[in-house]
């Protein structure tokens, strides 16, 4: 398993996990951003519905990007702006350096611009003798210690007040106390003369408006206002994907950015700048210029790539970072190159190279939450799978990932060789060897394998006893309910039959989500095609595909159509697929109150977030008299399917670091047991909390004795 690349990443993860209080600070910051977003959306008319509008706008504008760039440039020039279409960073930097030399500029005050970070413009400017000062406080802090942004929106979120005070003591020679308010007073005194005296002001742009010839810059601090109004020369460096068509489009982006990032309704200052205004009147009036550098740097190529073009819809809000479970532990220096976090993986791959992206891509555990929070509904996990797949051509998948992608083969074998396989799973020496050879952590309490799988049991039982069914169901078991817990599968089937459904067990293969998670899209497509082919005849006969495993429901209904380019059969299967309790929700009428007086903590598996968020299962429990409370941190539990089964940092250790706050939440809640539908989340939560974990159907079965 020699792989120095993983050794480097593992070492970084190990350090990040140990690093306190930074790790807690990062976790709290991310949680606060998530929570604020959620409450802001509750107050926003239409709630998260704005995401659809944002996506529509981005797709429309990307589809005619070349025309919009032309229109934007024409309108900018009409307003007296100088425009450069830069094919790459070198061209952009060359233009800026030449301009600075012509103007005899000595200082450049910058407001935050990720695009200038992308092309790393500060170093060549400094080498040319310019003093370059970042005026966004977070950027200024990391500039002073020569670091890269830790987060898109909070670049210095990993620094403590004590560390920042030390930075400004060094910088100003003043005695700066370790207190945020006192530091801020020093910063104001430090920055004001920089704003007043800069020769060049440099900004990015959050949006460019084609039909108006205006750039739009958002800052909470107001620093972009100062650097774009005081210096005689203003330079804006922006990516060409930021151009939208109209002012209305721009306003939608202004809503989407801050609400997604931090739950703010609008950013405190939003500047729409068209051309360059004079400063003052009459005598002493200097000519003032604006230069708009529109950067390509791989974006045009990206637009042609069917998978990666989606990354151009990114509006740089940072929400994917806020919700990403592993980013929330390790931060942007481990989870990122220059662009951090989930969206940083495809962006790094496209603008800084596949190799650099592959260095941190394994940190994505494919929980899919970034896709659910993204204001432009970008399928980030699928693009990351694409990065992992391309990267595997030069850096083959580690053995454990290959083993887990082919989990069904292992399950079949385990099932065939049961009970021997189960004895082996409980044998310390065998588990030690399995950890060393396969890479499955020996501490994990793995589920047993059953010789009589659900498939065998149903075959032996014969056809469904239900005549004149209310509904017809084709049951999709995936791995757990077939090989590990056929009791769960049977309970589901019998429950459906009691509700008057005819149930069949169609030929099927496991959903194959691990292929996406570990980055083998060819394998994922093959599995998807196979299942679609097998399930299609049932769908055509009016059967509903029902599954107890949330990830299987997600895979069939969300991933397959995407993998198979919206193939009509895949779409038909997707439309007919329902998670068990969502399906049952409309069918149950009179139930007993088996669970009266009992109180449970409910865990929502990530893949269930877009599938009703466990509403069906909770209603199922509540109908039976239980008190059910969702316990959550707003992100993943850390298990992420099979990720947490793996030995090492990229597995067990990181899974537990992610899970800790959730484990605490369950322990502090005082609930008698945890209920979740996911087999793997259940293992993780049980081990992490020491609390009993139930699948809702198994809970009912146990309660009834």
């Amino acid at each position: 398993m020699a792989n120095t690349r993983y050794d480097t990443l593992n070492a970084k993860i190990a350090t990040a996990i140990e690093e306190r209080p930074q790790r807690d600070q990062l976790y709290n910051a991310m949680k606060r951003a998530r929570d604020s977003r959620r409450s802001a959306l509750e107050a926003l008319p239409g709630g998260a519905g704005f995401r659809k509008e944002v996506r529509q706008i981005k797709l429309r504008c990307q589809s005619k990007a070349d025309d919009l760039v032309d229109q934007f440039v024409q309108n900018l020039e009409k307003r007296g702006a100088n425009v450069l279409l830069a094919k790459d960073g070198a061209e952009a930097i060359g233009y800026v350096l030449k301009l600075a030399a012509e103007k005899g500029a000595r200082t450049c005050a910058k407001s935050k611009s990720l695009t200038t970070e992308e092309i790393e413009i500060n170093h060549p400017m400094e080498d040319a003798g310019l003093e370059v000062i970042e005026t966004d406080l977070g950027e200024l802090i990391i500039q002073k210690v020569h670091e890269k942004p830790f987060h898109l929106v909070f670049p210095a979120v990993h620094k403590t007040a004590v560390q920042v005070a030390e930075i400004f003591r060094r910088e100003t020679g003043e005695d700066v106390p370790n207190d945020v308010n006192e530091i801020m007073k020093v910063v104001r005194r430090y920055l004001r003369p920089i704003f007043m005296n800069a020769d060049i002001g440099m900004t990015g742009a959050n949006v460019g408006i084609a039909d108006t010839g205006a750039i739009v810059i958002e800052t909470n601090e107001g620093n972009a206002r100062l650097v774009s109004s005081i210096p005689d020369v203003h330079i804006c460096v922006m990516g060409r994907e930021k151009i939208v068509e109209t002012c209305d489009d721009a306003v939608m982006m202004l809503l989407a950015h801050p609400i997604s990032a931090v739950g703010q309704h609008t950013t405190t200052y939003v500047t729409f700048q068209a051309g360059r205004s004079p400063l003052g009147y009459g005598e002493g009036r200097e000519p003032r210029e604006t230069h708009i550098v529109i950067l390509d740097n791989g974006r045009t190529e990206m637009a042609k790539d069917p998978l990666f073009s989606d990354a151009l819809n990114c509006i740089r809000c940072g929400a994917c970072m806020n919700i990403c479970p592993t980013y929330g532990v390790v931060g942007g220096h481990t989870f990122g190159h220059i662009y951090p976090g989930p969206i940083g993986i495809p962006w790094t791959s496209e603008v800084h190279g596949l190799e650099l992206a592959g260095d941190f891509a394994p940190l994505c555990i494919s929980c899919g939450l970034c896709k659910e929070i993204c204001p432009a509904e970008i399928d980030i996990p699928m693009m990351i799978a694409g990065v992992k797949e391309r990267d595997a051509e030069t850096h083959p998948h580690p053995r454990v990932n290959r083993f887990l992608m082919d989990a069904e083969r292992g399950a079949k074998m385990g099932s065939m060789t049961a009970p021997f396989s189960n004895w082996a799973m409980r044998n310390g020496a065998f588990r030690y060897v399995m950890e060393k050879v396969v890479g499955i952590d020996r501490r994990r309490d793995l589920p047993v394998f059953r010789r009589k799988t659900l498939e065998k049991r149903l075959k032996r039982r014969g056809p469904s006893p239900v005549k004149d069914p209310k509904r017809k169901v084709a049951f999709f078991a995936d791995i757990f309910a077939n090989y590990n817990s056929p009791e769960l599968g049977m309970a589901a089937v019998e429950h459906l039959e009691r509700l008057g459904c005819e149930v069949v067990y169609p030929e099927q293969v496991a959903s194959g989500y691990p292929f996406i998670g570990y980055g083998d899209l060819a394998g994922a497509r093959k599995t998807a095609r196979k299942n679609v082919l097998l399930l299609k005849p049932w769908v055509e006969k009016g059967y509903h595909i029902v599954t107890t495993e949330p990830t299987a429901a997600y895979c069939l209904s969300k991933s397959y159509p995407k993998l198979l380019d919206d193939d009509p059969d895949a779409v038909a299967v997707a439309k007919q697929t329902t998670e068990f309790f969502e399906f049952v929700d409309g069918l149950e009428e009179d139930v007993d109150t088996t669970l009266a007086g009992r109180r449970f903590g409910f865990h929502i598996p990530c893949h269930q977030r877009p599938l009703g968020e466990g509403g069906g299962a909770m209603a199922f429990l509540r109908r039976r008299g239980a008190e059910v409370e969702v316990i959550e941190t707003g992100t993943c539990c850390g298990m992420a399917g099979t990720f947490g089964l793996k030995a090492g940092q990229l597995g067990y250790e990181l899974a537990n670091a992610v899970g800790e706050p959730l484990f605490d939440g369950f322990r502090e809640s005082g609930v008698e047991a945890i209920v979740t539908e996911s087999s793997v989340c259940g293992i993780h939560l049980g081990e992490g909390t020491g609390i009993q974990v139930w699948h809702p159907l198994m809970l009912i079965a146990a309660a009834k004795g």
């Binding site: 600070q25 620093n223 005081i230 721009a250 306003v251 405190t268 360059r276 003052g280």
Partner: protein, 188 residues
């Protein structure tokens, strides 16, 4: 009782740490603006542009309170220093968004932008009729302004004081721009 839209604006603006003053008439608003300056301990006040009919009464209100009022016709050679020296900037937004607590400033000279950026305190004076409900409704107004000004023009949305939370996510006001912002609403 203030109208619904004024109430919505006030609630939101106060959440953003801004101060709201409701006045029945322009004259009352002029007096209130001068009081805010005095209460802020201001000596030097700079003024920017205002909606029609507001500039004259507001500026004379400030003058008669004995404040040193400068602007908005600064010579190019005296700015930005003359604005940076001021303790308070007073100006009027073109329109205001209730939903987000946003004062929208139109400018074709950067003097007006600096009046609301450099001084520690900013006072925005506007009439109730210039309030609109939602952020989404602002697009056509922004567009119309840019269409009417075919060369340089700047539109700025300002929602409360300058804020940063870049150290330990602790919110701090006024590190870069104004620390205190006031909205004076004329309900007549």
């Amino acid at each position: 009782m203030p109208s619904d839209i004024v109430t919505r604006f006030k609630e939101k603006y106060e959440i953003l740490a801004g101060h709201v003053h409701l006045c029945a008439t322009v004259e009352e608003a002029a007096v209130r603006a001068a009081e805010i300056c005095s209460e802020s301990g201001a000596e030097h006040v700079v003024v920017g542009e205002f909606a029609d009919g507001l500039a004259e009464p507001i500026v004379s209100g400030l003058d008669s309170a004995g404040l040193d009022v400068a602007g908005p016709d600064f010579k190019a050679s005296e700015v930005p220093a003359a604005i940076d020296r001021a303790d308070v900037g007073v100006s009027g937004p073109a329109f205001v968004i209730a939903e987000s607590g946003t004062l929208v400033e139109f400018a074709t000279n950067d003097v007006f932008r600096l009046v609301s950026t450099l001084p520690r305190v900013h006072v925005g004076v506007f009439r109730e009729q210039d309030l609109i409900d939602t952020l989404k409704e602002s697009g056509p107004r922004v567009k119309a302004y840019f269409d009417a000004n075919s060369e340089n023009a700047t539109v700025t949305f300002i929602s409360g004081p300058s804020r940063t939370a870049d150290i330990e996510m602790k919110l701090t006001l006024g590190v870069h721009g104004p620390e205190v912002t006031h909205a004076v609403v004329i309900e007549a």
